[in-house]
Symmetry: C2
Subunit: 150 residues, 2 copies
């Protein structure tokens, strides 16, 4: 996304945007998550320029979100999510849920999520890690934390 660097702000949102905020990056991550792991697959799916895709993939690998690994003795590589990357995909799930609710219109959601644990098509919602009740943006106060010093 960024012309300006956000990573030096004392804000986890800004820092996350440094990893994840450039144009195309969320969609690249979505593709890898969805199983499109190879350069040409992603390029064809998104219609992104090869130059930009190269940059984005390198950046994500450098950040430890993706791992680049050979899948052939020829110089062929695929990109897979690391643990860090899989957790980052939570952001994608929440974005998808919001888009499903507010932007999908008549046709309904283009993709459904089936939960392994219960087998139902469902969606993720935010709950407090402490008490288990719903915990949305309107249900919290923002306090200064230990890492607040700029």
């Amino acid at each position: 996304m960024q012309r300006t660097q956000f990573g030096d702000m004392a804000c986890s949102i800004a820092r996350t945007l440094d990893v994840f905020g450039e144009p195309w990056t969320p969609l690249v991550l979505r593709d890898v998550w969805a199983g499109l792991t190879r350069f040409d697959q992603i390029q064809a799916d998104l219609g992104i320029s090869r130059k930009v895709l190269t940059e984005r993939l390198n950046h994500l690998v450098g950040q430890g979100v993706l791992e680049r690994r050979p899948y052939d003795r020829r110089p062929r590589y695929e990109y897979v999510l690391t643990g860090k990357g899989t957790e980052l995909a939570e952001v994608l799930m929440v974005m998808a849920a919001w888009g499903d609710k507010w932007l999908a219109g008549e046709a309904g959601p283009p993709v459904l999520h089936r939960h392994h644990a219960c087998g139902h098509v469902s969606r993720a919602e935010l709950r407090c890690a402490h008490c288990g009740e719903a915990m949305g943006p309107g249900d919290i106060d923002l306090l200064t934390g230990p890492g607040a010093a700029a």
Copy 2:
């Protein structure tokens, strides 16, 4: 974010990026959420160019995420989250949680979230709306939904 328009893809993530994905937009939304609701406050906080801030605010208002309303008889306006916008801020919460975990380092998180319901400093986690168990990106299958036709 985008040179290319994403909104016409059959993907709720891409559509959400059309609302939310341009550079600076998530941080603008964060500021409004955090209570910096006026043009000059946001501009000073982020160091964003006034031109770009104007564009972003107009876009968010046009998308129904923010509401622009006068707070004085002089031409003075503040921006407040709509319901749609408040729900969009869930994305910010998840981004913040990820940044806290993976990017905050020694110092710890710069901002803490206190849950109104239980009064504890906590964080939000993703749970299945159906069964209530944890529901992360690795816990689901992606299925074709009704709105899948491009």
